[in-house]
Amino acid sequence: MQRSCRQSVFILQIALTAWACIASALLADEPVPEGLTKLRDMQTPTAQTLLNETPIDWIVLLNEDVLRVHQISPRPFPLQERKQAIAAKEVERIRLAGEAKDRVTREIEELSRLIVTLPDETDRREFSLPIRQIRAVIHHEELVLRRIELLYAENQLSLAYELLSRLQREHPNWSGVNEAGQNFLSLEARQKLKDGQPESALRLLNELYERNPRFPELQTTLAAVTKILAESAIANRQFSRAQYFLNHLNKKFPNDPVYQQFEKELGRQATEIMQKADEAAAGKDFRTASQLARQSVQRWPLLNSLAGPFKRHAERDQQLHIGVTELPGQHRAYPFPTLADEQFERLTHVSLFEIDRLKDGVAYYKTRLFDDWEPRFLGRRWTLTLRQFHQPHESLRAVSAYEIAQRIQSRVDPSSSEYDERLASFLDSVEINSPTQLTLHFRRVPARIEPLLASVAFSHLATTSREDSNTSKSENEPVGGFRLVSEDLANNKKDQGTEESLREIFYRRAIPESDRQKQFHISEIVVHHFESPERVVQALQRGDIDMTSGLPDVLLRQLQRNDLFNRQFFIQKIQQPVTHLLQFNPNSVPLKTVELRNALAFAVDRPRILNDFVLRDSKSPNGRLVSTPYYSNNPAANNELVPRQFDLSAGLALALAARHKLQGTLPALTMVVAPGEVAKEAAEEIARSWRQIGLTINVVHTDDSPPEQWDIAYRTLQMPEPALELWPFLSADQKNTIVGLKSYPDWIRQQLIQVDRAGSPTSINSSLKELDRLLVNSTTLIPLWEVDQFLIVRKNIHGFPQNPVHSFQNIEQWTLDAWYPKELPQ
């Protein structure tokens, strides 16, 4: 109180002094202002004053006294121009007379006064100050700049930045603001560098470069930052990253000594590595040679001398680099095989029959093992004749009828871990006619033999350094396809991998191609795991990977619209879309209540989630709502089914009914979600809707710890053969067993049996349609939508199918032209 009083008195004194001064100035020609602080004694206001208090301008009078006033206008005040204008008017007045002279006199009087208000909040009076008494006006903004410079000197950059940002926001064109900003960037960059944050320093220097490329010592600082970043990247074997920083420096300041130093060093290393690759190739170690050649061009791709040897080594042992967001066998909380599991299983398995194409939703099969397969006795016996010769590019060895019979036997032997109850119910016995021919005796005639035998496959597990001594040589000898290479070979992954990938796994052609080949094919597949689809696309564009599939639709459409991308990559539609659906656990106690299941079904807004979360564009042709768990164009799909329309109120009513039926409590439901960003977002949105109707939903994503029991599963799957795959899909144990269907009602079980026993495609389809109706209408599952899948392949890859059934179809026939990015990354 006392303090404010003293301030008021002080202000009043100043005001009175100022008033006396002004009044004397107005009354006298040579006023002598008294009681004001001299300019030399004035202190630059503190940052807090400048930020928090009313902006004040300083008016420096002729006697160096400083008058503090509220901000004057116009700003900046043109003092010199005003004085010149007064002088000009006075000259003009001399020549005039009468009214004109009076008018000019009035104009001079107006120009000669500066209206000011004193910084006293209680005194709102305006005072007129003669211009000729003013030596200078020091604006509030200039005071701020002065304080900023002082703060720079004291290294209080954050406070300085606060002042500067306000100044930039309010008066971006004020003289000195730009320079202060540049100084700030330079000082901040140096500070960041000192704090060990070179990336931040680089960002600031880039900004500074944009504002003023000729800023003093900018090149030196940028070179220092680049050196630190490049050295760090090289130490972490992130050569692409190092190249990016060096290229960045070189573009801004060509031929900087730092760039030249690294160019020389990395070039030398690249040459040395390529020499090692040549040596490895001379020693017939083509895999190492190819890997070293890739490392060499990754080290410094600008050397022209690398192109020739790289082509030689890369095309001899062709290594395909694939980017994925899901690796097989990596999903802890999801209790079903994932799409990635199935995708990579196709690489390592040689099936007796495999899907060749889909026509009108029906799968057509081919075989690599048999020349001929003929039915006899109205299909009760099938004689299979084995192929004896294979093309050199086929990763396949000659298989004997005994081996095939042994594989089939293991599937029909109840004591075997591979026992297939369904196959065993059809197959009676296997008769080996000769080393190249066998006959299958069926006790029941299957509608189609190919899908039945497609599940019989030769597989290759990871090769370990110590082979099991008990297994015979023939059992260990691979039949074909690709095999997962063990971890000991994957140790050098950083040399092979991309810098952003989290993990790599290696698949190697099980049967290597002969040296005498003229044209070699893909011998190794390196799968790079990225944390997001965006990272996959980045790696594609950088040249780190050659192929990917399963990108989210929104990202895919962006790439389809990108002309530059389309010049470098093929984007091929895969014939099998991915179906998304919600499956209810038949063993879940609360979900046995039909009211609860129906409530859940009502509360899923399928069209909105498809458009907003899955496709992110209602006009996208790559996704559609479905009413079946299999493809919508499959002849067995019951497209006449109308799933429940979204009605949150009906859902709420049914949830209340379910609560009543469950003795007043609705237990929390656990939903496990298939891997993938799209599934994750869609599942979260569905769970949000369910929470709106009063349900407690725990969403368990793939990386979470596995739940004790799940109630609902958000599944993504591909089901080309519903007659075969629907049973294990519904079964609790994911196998073709009767026991797995124990919890389903008898009428669903019997309909499944009817599908299983159907003897013709027509009866299979009609039984499946009926089963589909029962499943959807009894809310055993909620079909959501299907999304088309696309394969993205760099254009240096040849031989892949135009309409692939899956990502790795006929991959042993693919060839790869040597390619690497011939420019440094930008």
Binding site: E595, N598, F602, L654, A657, I738, D746, Q750, I753, R757
Partner: protein, 500 residues
């Protein structure tokens, strides 16, 4: 398979008879030995000798295979020793003749006969029972297999097997397997009070091998009928399916039984031409595979059908918890033999209905077929009813929600909204439409049941449809709908009057 290495099988000769019994035995044995075999004569015994005193005529046919170190003389010696043993064990109750098979009998051949297969080529006419014995000698060990053919029931018993490595025990083992293959015969009588009692053939004679050759409390009897014509010639032998008699008490040749049957009265009324017999059967197979077949559809057994297996225990003990089972793709259940609780009850379900409830003794036969009614039509209706119930729930919930919205909109005097909601309400399926669906379902499924002549299924279908119909009539009642419309119209009119 049983191995024997010691003297455990040595016969004890300390048989104690009473005098009268001994005299009677000697007489009967003498008569039996004095009879010359008459192959063509049917096995109808003289009515003079009561059944409880009538010894079995047993022909043992021995066939050997294996290495040549076993000579015919050795086998003959074993036969003689074996006959001595059997005579001493079953003195008086068995008249045993040993024969050598004219053609070889193999173990596989013995095992291959089904229970009701025709008489084997090694059957000796005139005997009550023919027991085929195969001996396989391999490197000093003897594998023995015996199987009985019972002339009265014209059925085979289970194969009794043993393996012996001690040559001194060979004859003993052969006699033991023969004894184990033997199934005693009981003539049954249905008492007026409904209890069943029986007389064991030759049951008055004591035996050294009581457990093997006689009937004990807890043993299971499989009954069958012998139908004769006026000339007392055999016309047919009818096994009584899914009927077992559990022996509750024995007194020399007399047995008392408790019946376990899927039928209420499996035995016909007493008749001179129909006699009721039973064979004692003991579980000898490790499991019994029961195949469930819908009537008239043998090619499509009932796969994935829910079944329940429960031990049948005396009423005094607490009931066991049932085992839930599912038939496999071949419509079969593999039931394992349980020596503790041989008698079980198998219940076959189809949806909410019970298709069959039968007693079963697991292990007596390797395979069984259970005929059940074809319930597919009724089961399909059950599925449709479940779906209709689900749709009814949806409909009722949606209807209630729309009606509540109409009330809210009317309260807020938003008449355009009321109109659109009323239109939405009219779009919902009406009670008539829903009932028409139920009628159509009922009509079609009852027609299918009538075609299949399944009266029970027809009744069940009617009952199920009636339940859902009642529910639909209750929850899709017109009255509330009409009341709502009337109220809304009244409120609207009042609003319009106020507005004017």
């Amino acid at each position: 398979m049983r191995n024997s290495f010691g003297f455990s099988g040595i016969v004890r000769r300390s048989v104690q008879h009473n005098l009268l019994f001994a005299i009677l035995l000697l007489c009967i044995t003498g008569i039996a030995q004095g009879q010359s075999p008459k192959p063509e004569k049917p096995p109808v015994h003289s009515p003079v000798t009561p059944l409880n005193l009538r010894p079995y005529k047993i022909a043992v046919v021995i066939s050997s295979s294996g290495d040549s170190t076993v000579s015919a003389e050795t086998i003959k010696r074993w036969e003689i020793e074996c006959q001595h043993l059997l005579t001493s064990w079953h003195s008086g109750s068995w008249n045993t003749d040993f024969h050598t098979a004219s053609s070889s009998i193999t173990n596989n051949e013995l095992a291959a006969y089904t229970r009701t297969a025709p008489a084997p080529h090694w059957h000796i006419s005139g005997s009550d029972k023919t027991i085929g014995v195969t001996l396989s000698c391999h490197t000093g060990s003897l594998a023995i297999a015996s199987r009985e053919w019972d002339q009265l029931s014209q059925t085979y018993g289970p194969v009794s097997q043993a393996e012996c490595h001690d040559e001194r025990e060979f004859a003993n083992e052969i006699a033991t397997t023969i004894t184990q293959a033997f199934r005693p015969i009981v003539e049954l009588k249905l008492r007026p009070d409904g209890e069943i009692e029986g007389v064991i053939q030759a049951g008055e004679f004591p035996s050294q091998h009581q457990t093997a050759s006689h009937i004990d409390q807890g043993d299971m009897l499989l009954p069958f009928l012998r139908v004769l014509n006026r000339k007392q010639e055999l016309v047919a032998i009818q096994p009584i399916p899914w009927t077992y008699l559990q022996v509750t008490g024995t007194d020399r040749a007399q047995v008392e039984c408790t019946m376990h049957s899927t039928f209420q009265s499996p035995f016909p009324k007493s008749s001179r031409r129909v006699s009721t017999w039973a064979l004692r059967e003991r579980p000898s197979y490790p499991k019994t595979v029961v195949t469930i077949i819908p009537r008239g559809k043998k090619q499509t057994p009932l796969a994935a059908t829910r079944c329940e297996l429960i031990n049948i225990t005396p009423e005094s003990t607490s009931p066991a918890s049932p085992r839930q089972l599912l038939t496999d793709r071949n419509g079969s259940l593999a039931l394992e033999t349980d020596p503790e609780h041989p008698l079980k009850r198998l219940t076959v379900f189809s949806g909410q209905s019970v298709l069959a409830r039968v007693p079963i003794v697991v292990g007596i036969v390797p395979e069984l077929e259970l005929d059940v009614p074809d319930d597919s039509a009724r089961l399909a209706v059950e599925g449709e009813i479940a779906i209709l119930e689900s749709e009814l729930l949806d409909l009722v919930a949606t209807r209630e929600i729309v009606m509540a919205r109409i009330r809210t909109a009317a309260d807020q005097e938003r008449w355009a909204k009321v109109d659109s909601l009323l239109a939405e309400l009219d779009q919902l399926p009406s009670q008539q439409a829903f009932l028409a669906r139920i009628d159509k379902l009922q009509l079609n499924s009852i027609f299918a049941a009538q075609q299949a002549k399944d009266r029970v299924a027809e009744l069940r279908i009617k009952r199920m449809c009636e339940t859902i119909r009642t529910s639909a009539q209750k929850h899709l009642d017109h009255t509330r709908l009409n009341d709502l419309k009337t109220n809304v119209t009244t409120e609207r009119q009042q609003f319009e009057k106020r507005s004017m």
